[in-house]
Subunit: 259 residues, 2 copies
């Protein structure tokens, strides 16, 4: 199993704080030692960092923890390999351009018999995750030749895809193209939304107190999604199996709860 | 104008030395202050770093200069904006997946009236360079539905594309998909190939002596291509306008000289 981290915010916000907690899981407080990656959206483009070294020992992760990159959407992943060797090609998040936007995808779980269906987008590595990402993008592109007129037209299709994947194994997933953050919970995903400034937050994995005023600046809406709660003091909400949430600018713009 | 740097090597080799010289041009010894990027190929995957800050002031560039990432193919670019704002989306190198390989492209020059022709690959930013990259990949994909049986089938088509671009302006270009490094000289590109160990090399921009034994290890073939020679002591060869060279494992595997 791996660990996911996603953020959607109303103003460009840095994720150093949450990422620091996540990277501790990559070899210090957790067993996820098979690489990590993070993608930041900035003005429609992306900046990515990845390493096949454990995040707790990676010099690149050290930089990301200390360097405040301000972004409205971030997707990060630390890996414990099951399908696919430890290698850069198998390191999430995966990215592809579709309709002139950089799409980013990260997955937690395993689908043992998962099949890639040949199409325009092809996997570079050997994970079930990247195969699923390519299948999803090929399906989206085939359904909307010129792109949808509004992003919300995509949600039912992406949800249906996630449900299919869930029927083949475990499929906790984060997806973005720079405007929205789509999150699907198969069995293990927590979320919280912070609407106002808070004074202090205790980071669970490293017992570090951080003044959030200095991090997000003035009042903002910031939503964070993670495999496990990253802080003690915040009220993390466990998502239900089959639940899907779409965030835009930190707020929920679409929500599916299973029957 | 911008500055290009490319490397092809017979064994995974770090480029800290050449990159250090390049980044000095990004705001210290040169005027290229509008961002920079670098893509390293490792085991078929890529690792990229980019910033819209000048390379001479970028903390990310500082890490890349000090952190020896071993790669057989590297493409880097520092930018002086002409077409397209200073932004991450307009920062070279550009990357796209085609046939399950990560393709990387960087361009030096300007084509004022250049047109993007709608196709599957679409630009994310607003540069003439990314438009040309997308046009090139769309043409390649349309010509080889399943991919070519051998890479060399691609060279005449890529060369013809470069010649067309050259007729529209200045088009010095580096392209790779992890196996080969394709280099086209429109008006300004230097190359050298080093086949044996050398004792010392004087970096032109920072007056620093470096022991190359410690950098490339035992005997290797390393070819470097750059807009301007990066070292004093090496014998850099100025490429001719219209000249194209393809490197694989540091050696030239295809060479086109203009009539």
């Amino acid at each position: 199993m791996c660990e996911l981290l996603g953020m959607s915010a109303s103003v460009p916000t840095d994720i150093c704080f949450s990422f620091t907690g996540l990277t501790e899981r990559g070899g210090v407080t957790g067993p996820h030692t098979d690489g990590w990656g993070i993608v930041f959206y900035e003005d429609g483009g992306t900046r990515e960092f990845r390493d096949w070294l454990p995040s707790s020992r990676s010099r690149i992760a050290e930089l990301v923890k200390q360097y405040p990159i301000h972004s409205r959407i971030v997707i990060s992943h630390i890996r414990q390999a099951n399908v696919g060797a430890v290698s850069l090609v198998n390191t999430h998040p995966f990215t592809r351009e579709l309709w002139g936007k950089p799409w980013t995808f990260a997955h937690n779980g395993q689908m043992k018999e998962y099949q890639y269906l040949p199409g325009g987008f092809q996997p570079i590595g050997t994970t079930d995750s990247e195969a699923a990402f390519c299948n999803l993008l090929n399906r989206i592109r085939a359904s909307f030749v010129q792109g949808p007129t509004a992003c919300r037209e995509l949600w039912p299709m992406i949800l249906a895809f996630c449900q299919e994947c869930q029927s083949e194994g475990v499929f906790n997933m984060l997806l973005s193209q720079g405007d929205f953050l789509f999150c699907f919970c198969s069995n293990n995903l927590y979320r919280y939304t912070r609407r106002t400034r808070q004074q202090k937050e205790l980071l669970k994995d490293v017992q570090m107190e951080v003044d959030l005023n200095g991090i997000t600046g003035h009042c903002t809406t910031v939503s964070v999604v993670a495999t496990q709660p990253l802080t003690e003091s915040e009220l993390w909400q466990k998502m239900q199996p089959g639940e899907a949430v779409v965030f835009k600018d930190g707020d929920i713009v679409w929500h599916h709860l299973p029957d």
